[in-house]
Amino acid sequence: MSKESRMRASVNQKLTEMGERERLKELLRAKLTECGWKDQMKAHCKEVIKEKGLDHVTVEDLVVDITPKGRALVPDSVKKELLQRIRAFLAQHAT
């Protein structure tokens, strides 16, 4: 088990050090905006804000509501593309 966790830690470190994590983040953000996910989520945010009141809404309110919905609403095509890139990276740097 510790071998695995060591491998994971080393991969994560490489991801960050080589700048791949940043690139993946940017790619994901761009894809999510393109496919309308961001606008969808913003509309959900509006509902939360109207419910809690403009002056009293907190980051926690938003996070608690948005995160599960956001995860569920990511389109499969976006997930596939990101996974492809991640797998490619792992194939090169995980062993």
Binding site: K25, K42, I49, V63
Partner: protein, 180 residues
């Protein structure tokens, strides 16, 4: 031994796949959190609802999605079949040909002055027969890239007159200079 190796690699693949999924999950969560922070800041700074207006205006400016119309609701191929009357020659011209026609008709624009210049030059060198040919060539030389062709045409026409006074003069001059 071999069997173990095979199962080991499939285990590794499964773990790699799990790792990939975890990384994706982290990235998605990061995106969600980023959005929450962005929205929260917009709310607190007061610019979140800036692009909203009252319901009636929202309905007025909604995107139009009907065939034959653009997103503003305007008809966009209205001018295909319209014809305009030229104020100069009073002819009826198709809308898409109207601007180039006006250029020639009024004698303004780059091409009109080029054609006029050419007519002046060739009108001096040759007789009137070639002028009628010039009018046929107008449409052929309509674009700017024909400048090379125009040059060639000019050269040929000036070479056509061996009997012009200049030529014979230079010959006379040469003969007198060579044998002083």
């Amino acid at each position: 031994m071999k069997m173990e190796e095979v199962s080991m690699s499939s285990l590794d693949n499964g773990k790699l796949e799990g790792l990939a999924q975890d990384i994706l999950s982290d990235l998605v969560e990061d995106a969600c959190l980023g959005l929450c922070f962005e929205v929260h800041r917009a709310v607190k700074q007061g610019y979140f609802f800036l692009d909203d207006t009252d319901q009636e205006s929202m309905r007025d400016f909604e995107i139009v999605d009907q065939p034959g119309l653009d997103v503003f609701g305007q008809v966009y191929n209205q001018w295909k079949n319209k014809e305009c009357v030229c104020p100069n020659c009073s002819r009826s011209i198709a809308a898409s040909r109207f601007a180039p026609h006006l250029e020639k008709c009024l004698g303004m624009g780059r091409n009109s002055s080029r054609i006029a210049n050419r007519r002046i030059v060739t009108g001096n060198n040759t007789n009137n027969k070639s002028e009628s040919d010039q009018e046929d060539n107008d449409d052929v030389n309509d674009n700017d890239w024909s400048y090379g062709a125009e040059k060639k045409a000019k050269k040929r026409k000036s070479d056509k007159n061996p009997n012009s006074p200049r030529r014979s003069k230079s010959f006379k001059h040469k003969s007198t200079c060579l044998f002083p």
